[in-house]
């Protein structure tokens, strides 16, 4: 039985499941508890010991059928057929040599990609992407961690003032014979700030919209307090639509929700709606507000300026990302952009993959400022 368990484990590993020897042992022990001659028992014993995610289920089922019901030809072809499926349809371009190096603090996650075509893609302007390259970009963007960097725990740490730290006070008191001479305090370590991203989806932004929406998705599923909106002729909250892990499903839902995709822009009005309905009530308070837009506004520029000033007063930090900024000789001449700039703390380009990385870093750094 152990031999069979080991062999089956090998099949599953070949199929992409992470099945270590410890799990295989567990499987063998589970079989001892059950009726190893009964198909259902073997099936469930394997399922609960050898899989650990719902996505594993399908792979497991196929491997089970091949191995246990067709006589265990596990050295044969079936294995490569059961390639582990990655949501992006073009998983073949995912860089093979990818090293994820978590920073010591555990809050900086640098992704290094070594793969020459990918290198080119990273710096290429989104507007020059071919449709094929966009599909490859999906793979790249799935590696992007929005503010994985941001993640701070809520644990308490010693501080000069804050909450009374009875534990340490008591400890100190022991040294003075039970007299609490020095009172100790602690306070919460910095929490992640809420990030609110308003993404312009008007026609002029369309070469960038797809990539930027992927960025929004990465943010929403990052586990941070993250809110996503689209700005066009109107405002649409996308947070819930994007909250699905599968990027394809998320983007489809987001697209369904936006009635104004690739339409006109009334930046000021849409922003007013944001501030009235959400920002003022708390969403923008103390948050990092990111606006992804080229600043072309067909509405009243005064409205935009007024709303930007409101946002600036509410928010902790305002980042404006303009894909056009990367163009040689760019100057913020679009009326909307010029009106907004006085209220912007950080002005970035957002035209390629590298610049999205910089944006992720800027968000992380803004979040850390107050420490």
């Amino acid at each position: 039985m152990l031999d069979a368990a080991v062999a089956f484990g090998r099949v599953l590993r070949g199929a992409g499941l992470s099945v270590g020897p410890d799990r295989v042992m567990e499987f063998a022990r589970a079989l001892e508890e059950l009726d190893a001659g009964r198909r259902e028992d073997v099936y469930w014993a394997g399922k609960v010991t050898l899989t650990s995610r719902p996505e594993d289920g399908e792979t497991y089922d196929r491997a089970f059928e091949i191995f246990w019901e067709r006589g265990g030809e596990y050295r044969q072809r079936p294995v490569p057929k059961m390639r582990f499926r990655i949501p992006s349809p073009k998983d073949s371009v995912l860089p093979a040599k990818k090293t994820v190096r978590p920073d010591r603090e555990g809050d900086q996650e640098a992704v290094t990609l070594r793969y020459s075509p990918i290198e080119v893609l990273r710096r290429k302007d989104f507007s020059e992407y071919t449709p094929e390259e966009f599909e490859e970009l999906d793979g790249l963007l799935s590696e992007l961690r929005v503010g994985g960097a941001l993640r701070r725990t809520r644990r308490l740490e010693p501080a000069r003032r804050g909450l009374y730290d009875a534990r340490r006070t008591m400890r100190g008191a022991m040294r003075t014979g039970g007299e609490a001479v020095r009172h100790r305090f602690r306070r919460a370590r910095s929490e992640p700030r809420r990030v609110v991203v308003l993404c312009d989806v008007s026609g002029s932004m369309s070469p960038y919209s797809r990539a930027l929406l992927r960025f929004l998705h990465a943010g929403v599923i990052s586990g941070l307090p993250f809110e996503a909106f689209s700005l066009g002729t109107r405002l649409t909250r996308l947070t819930r639509e994007l909250a699905t892990r599968d990027p394809d499903v998320a983007l489809r839902r987001a697209a369904d929700a936006m009635e104004d995709f690739s339409g006109g822009t009334r930046l000021g009005d849409a922003m007013k709606e944001f501030v009235d309905r959400w920002g003022q009530r708390g969403m923008a308070r103390g948050a990092i507000v990111v606006i992804l837009s080229d600043g072309w506004d067909r509405g009243e520029v005064d409205v935009l300026a007024e709303q930007m000033s409101r946002i600036h007063r509410l928010a902790y930090h305002v980042i404006w990302v303009n894909p056009l900024k990367a163009r040689p000789g760019y100057r913020p001449l679009a009326a909307g952009m010029a009106a907004a700039l006085p209220y912007v703390d950080t002005f970035l380009s957002g035209n390629n993959f590298d610049s999205l990385h910089r944006l992720a870093r800027a968000i992380a750094e803004a979040a850390g400022h107050h420490r």
């Binding site: 410890d22 022990r29 399922k47 995610r53 809520r154 008591m170 039970g178």
Partner: protein, 309 residues
């Protein structure tokens, strides 16, 4: 072996010797588990491994721990996870107020200041939180420890759980290592709001609870809301099944199916009609947008058929 599970544990309920019997037992206590889940629970009891349950909200994950504690006639100790939860909230904390009083009393009585520290950090001043309670539980049977919504906690806490769940022991610097004589039966649940670390999952048996199929859901409704007539139960289960196909923000779980049926029964419903659906929609769909979506798809379509496939 790292499992610390030597030989058989035999924490099975009386009269249960295999997974099928366990399934029956669960049923007697109004929990309808399919063969997969009852096998998973059976193995959990036999192998002494924690059981990691994932699934949408409302599919009955927490319920598993509750019913286990009932059939084993043993206490349920629950640890609700949240972001920032730490050792002091999960395992133990010192009772500072009492420690301070003790210091004062020692002084007032001119007592033994030499040994003050030893006294202060003794068992007497230790407050047990759920994990320590579970490790220290004394009784006929080990308790059921429910670590609920572990996906809400953070990485540090996960790493810490890893340690506790491999050894079933915890070290308190001032006191020493406390080891469970009889490891608790552990059920972890996750709504999958984020991915829990593989290392933690690897310590556990894993089961993903799906929404039940039509017939099972009818059965669940019949068991949990016995007042509901068969016909109504079938219509409700069918309607909920259709809702789950609708691409909602929050597709209804079994919990919502039961809530809904109860609401319908409370209104004296004997079978579903459009008017009743409209009146009770809030007990099954909890987002305004979802209700709108269901309405625009036509509430009548939810009622149509009714006897299921």
């Amino acid at each position: 072996m790292s499992s610390g599970a030597n030989g058989r544990r035999g924490a099975l309920p009386p009269g249960v010797t295999n997974a099928v019997e366990l399934q029956k037992k669960l049923r007697e206590h109004d929990y309808l588990a399919d063969e997969g889940l009852s096998t998973a629970i059976y193995l959990t009891l036999r192998l002494g491994r924690p059981l990691f349950l994932e699934g949408e909200a409302g599919v009955g994950k927490t319920e598993v721990a509750k019913v286990l504690s009932r059939i084993l006639d043993t206490p349920l100790i629950r640890l609700q996870c949240y972001e920032g939860i730490d050792v002091y909230q999960a395992v133990y904390e010192w009772d500072y107020a009492r420690q301070l009083l003790h210091i004062r009393a020692t002084e007032a009585l001119g007592g033994d200041r030499e040994n003050l520290e030893r006294d202060l950090y003794s068992r007497e001043f230790l407050i047990s939180r759920p994990l320590l309670q579970a490790l220290e539980h004394e009784g006929e049977n080990p308790p059921v420890l429910l670590i609920d919504e572990v996906d809400r906690s953070d990485d540090e806490f996960e790493a810490f759980l890893l340690e506790i769940l491999s050894d079933f022991s915890v070290t308190i610097p001032e006191i020493g290592t406390i080891r469970a004589e009889r490891p608790p039966i552990v059920v972890l649940t996750s709504n999958r709001t984020r991915e829990v670390h593989d290392a933690l999952k690897r310590r556990c048996l894993y089961f993903y609870i799906e929404h039940p199929g039509f017939e099972r859901e009818v059965e669940i409704v019949r068991v949990r809301v016995p007042e509901a007539e068969e016909r109504l139960a079938r219509q409700v289960a069918a309607a909920v099944g259709r809702m789950r196909q609708m691409d909602l923000y929050k597709p209804p779980g079994v919990a919502e199916t039961i809530d809904w049926t109860r609401a319908l029964v409370a209104l004296g419903a004997r079978e579903l009609d459009e008017r009743l659906v409209e009146a009770t929609l809030g007990s099954v769909l909890k987002y305004h947008e979802d209700q709108q979506r269901a309405s625009s798809a036509g509430l009548a379509t939810l009622v149509a058929g009714g006897m299921g496939a």
